[in-house]
Symmetry: C2
């Protein structure tokens, strides 16, 4: 093993140390000189006229592609750049490699350049809190999980005052560019900054990078967001272990809630990797206007059918945001918020008369613990805290209740024992898979190249991901082309719409074609731990492969 700085030997595990030294391959366009060529002008994902008004300086920009150049490149090789980078929002495995990619690009292509890391997220930009990233500083973080190199934060740069602070910082540091690594909101913010800086005639360009384990920031040009691959593989390892346990023990139903509030990509991917008996996809529940009773009955029916086959165990996957997708639950919570805001909830239950019939019936259906949670746990604004509801435990209790009815009716005679699990934080900071390691490095390298070419308002876009790394394409996509508007407080606000699970997309269709088989037969697959070498090291996830039309 090569020598490692002191930091590594004291706080790194053997595997972490080993990973630091694993070389990162690059797309072949970076193996010699290249040019950046523009495609046709872009539009917006929706309401292009409004987007054009909101982004007069950057709207309509063409996408950019890096292509090898035979002669001399138009990109000045002797230019030294000052670049800033910031991590925004929740952790995702691979963030450190984006930074490593930017750093290595600057080192190898723009001698004398400086890279600043803003600390603690966008707040670091506003408060001008940064660290200069040197080779010694960056090196130990290569291929490592977490965001602890410069840490992240959830602040946004949105008020005129905050934009002014950001302008002061980039001006003070003389930044040629800023890379914002984040999710849909952060990339919207990146575009607003690009617009703002260009409007102010600042030289600072802004490039975004697609990050989120939830997998809900993607489009044709940005086939996936980083972190999704690693997080799903970590969750799938745990699910696979629990499946083997379920089958060996033969007496538990494991209800597993997985991260992913807005979209159910993680749950869908984990289902494709492990083949559970029951999987809920929030987008489908919403599209089919399912009720909580439908959801409960769906599980209970499968429990009963499996009991008839002598199988009194199983595995159920639940996306974190499931209940947000159930229309009647949204309605109940809206009514509860109204009632709770207007005054007391009496012990006798008179307050329940204020609920509409459907909501009252639903409330009565809920287990006591959930009723208590709905009434007692409120956020600072007095609203019900949906995120605190342990959906997996709630469903276990509701299935128990329904099974008891069927037992009374003589249609179920077996024993049901539920075990609940929630996998969240475990997946956000794992060691990035080979895919996420390589993808992030290319995203960072590409972002630096786009800044070097003077681009702004683009999101770093690495494509052809079904091929070996050398064949990956590199470029940038106009952030405005991903945008639509939402009307909030009477104003149009630009948003990058979250990419939801498409019910006519290849991943969902594959899942839907197999789930009945998985429900009653045991088709469990246990992926095991992520392996960085060996036969499974370079397989990416099913969602990406299916969406790309690559054999999965």
């Amino acid at each position: 093993m090569a020598a490692t700085p002191g930091r590594l030997s004291s706080v790194y595990s053997d595997l972490q140390k080993h990973r630091v030294h694993v070389p990162l391959p690059l797309p072949s366009v970076f193996s010699s000189s290249f040019d950046v060529v523009d495609g046709p002008n872009s539009s917006a994902a929706g309401n292009p006229d409004e987007i054009a008004k909101l982004f007069p300086n950057v709207f309509g920009q063409p996408s950019a592609s890096l292509v090898p150049c035979s002669g001399s490149s138009k990109i000045k090789a002797d230019q030294s750049l000052k670049i800033g980078v910031v991590l925004s929002g929740g952790q995702a495995p691979g963030g450190h490699n984006v930074i490593s990619g930017i750093f290595d690009y600057l080192q190898s292509r723009t001698k004398g350049s400086t890279l600043y890391g803003f600390k603690g997220g966008p707040a670091g930009v506003m408060k001008c809190k940064y660290v200069e990233l040197t080779s010694d500083f960056v090196h130990p973080y290569r291929n490592q999980g977490g965001f602890d190199m410069i840490c992240s934060g959830r602040d946004k740069i949105e008020t005129p005052e905050q934009f002014k602070q950001a302008q002061e910082t980039v001006t003070k540091l003389g930044l040629d560019g800023l890379v914002i690594i984040g999710g849909d909101d952060s990339n919207t913010n990146a575009c607003l900054l690009a617009e703002n800086f260009r409007g102010k005639n600042l030289k600072t360009r802004v490039i975004g990078c697609p990050k989120t384990i939830d997998g809900d920031l993607k489009c044709k040009e940005v086939p996936t967001s980083f972190g999704f691959d690693t997080a799903c593989k970590i969750y799938a390892e745990m699910i696979g272990n629990v499946m083997v346990d379920a089958r060996s023990t033969g007496k538990y139903y494991h209800f597993i809630r997985l991260m992913g509030r807005a979209a159910s990509h993680i749950t869908l991917e984990c289902a494709l990797q492990t083949r559970p008996n029951v999987t809920f996809i929030g987008e489908e529940v919403y599209a089919k206007k399912q009720t909580l009773k439908n959801v409960t009955d769906y599980i209970t029916d499968i429990v009963c059918k499996r009991a008839k086959l002598g199988l009194n165990y199983g595995v159920v996957l639940i996306p974190e945001g499931l209940i947000d997708f159930i229309p009647e639950v949204q309605q109940l919570i809206a009514e509860l918020n109204e009632i709770l805001a207007s005054g007391a909830v009496d012990e006798g239950g008179e307050w329940k008369k204020k609920l509409k019939d459907q909501s009252r019936q639903l409330f009565e259906l809920l287990p006591q613990a959930i009723k208590d949670q709905l009434l007692l746990e409120r956020d600072p604004h007095g609203n019900v805290q949906v995120s605190k509801i342990e959906t997996e435990k709630m469903l276990i209790q509701m299935v128990e209740t329904e099974l008891e009815k069927r037992r009374q009716a003589g249609t179920y005679a077996a024993q049901f024992r539920g075990q609940s699990h929630f996998y969240g934080y475990e997946g956000r900071c794992g060691l990035p898979t080979n895919f996420d390691s390589n993808y992030c490095y290319a995203l960072g390298y590409g972002a630096a190249a786009l800044l070097h070419a003077g681009k702004t308002g683009l999101i770093s876009s690495v494509g052809n991901l079904g091929a070996p790394v050398s064949e990956w394409t590199v470029g940038g996509t106009a952030l405005t082309s991903l945008m639509d508007v939402e009307r909030r407080h009477g104003k149009f606000k630009p948003v990058i719409k979250k990419a939801m699970v498409e019910l006519d997309g290849a991943p969902f269709k594959k899942f839907a074609s197999m789930r009945e088989d998985w429900a009653l037969k045991n088709k469990y697959i246990s992926p095991g731990p992520i392996q960085f070498s060996g036969p499974t090291a370079d397989r990416t996830n099913y969602t990406l492969m299916l969406e790309l039309g690559v054999q999965a």
Copy 2:
């Protein structure tokens, strides 16, 4: 990849398929012919006179060692054997390799032998439910987690009627030997069967194998039980990921409960692997007669000290059995069981007057949810269900309460946010590590050799585990030598005492020497996922290495 039977291609992940074909090395004593030599006669772990009375036919047996033989071995090579094997108790990674080891020994050393797998644990022996294990049947389970090849069960063979059933089965099948793979109880049972069969002059010999992820079945001759290594590494992967997340996010205290009710070996090992800020070892809490208030204050003090350093996050490890180790909690629960048994608990709280002062004060100290759990969740005998108490959530609430007091007193001014986790089932059925794979294979191979040599009442013992597999020693230890008696219902009952964490043992001392440093500084180590190849593939666990005096 070599051809695999149909089962593999449809239900195995790529990694599982790959693992099936990984060759299993054997201790060098198996590379040619060997003899089994006896050591001096043995005694018992305690009360040898009583053990001698309980086991008149097998007490005092010498331990046996396999040694290479230069001339011809005394063990008949042309003998064909009928052997049964049974998995008993909870899952542990590696069980399938014990069976593979027995099978391969019989195939290579005793032509024409038959191996029966009893299905569903000891009940399979009593009901004579079995499957004949063939090469095709056994092959796909090599190096695989879980116990699903023949499944397990928690029944015991203890009544005269049950012994008679077992006798009938082994007689009907003409068994020369029976291998019982299990924990302390199951190996006690194995010894009782050995005694019973010998007393009845049956030809069936019985050999035990040490299994439990909890790590509490071990002694000088049996340095570790299988499954512990894998389970700890899976838990440590998750803990390490959460640590990186905690450090990156900087705002959560993660309270992680780990499996291990009776002993805290898993928690200790995970602490050595990951270096959390706070770790409780049940045995120490008990030895120091700590109260729940002591435990809460210990955490709270560290939270406050870290807050002064600007660190408002951390990781706390809690053994599943923690509250069982707190004397005052045991007392409270005993009193509650008495009160609940004798009648109703009135709404007004008059019943609390029946509690002794100390217990009442403790009860009042508990968070409401825990009070409810203590009063409402009872087992079929009406007793409080200690196992249902979510200790990690309870401690979060108690620390919150204590911090609020300190906030009022002006000694704490930061923000505390707790996140709870429980890792249990995730670790019991993972793919066994290289160590557990090899160790189990040697245990099985050795168990078969002991039966081949006509031994009974021994536990398969593989030693010198700090050395390469080729140098491992193989033999058997008299099960009676591990035993003591307990008096139950006026009778002496033989038991293999659980091996608790020794407070003067090397693993605990190493931990104790470092924990203060870990509490305030960030010394987190993230081991990452188990790797089957590469620099970390053959490292075993700290507990074993430290106990063996090997560099750790």
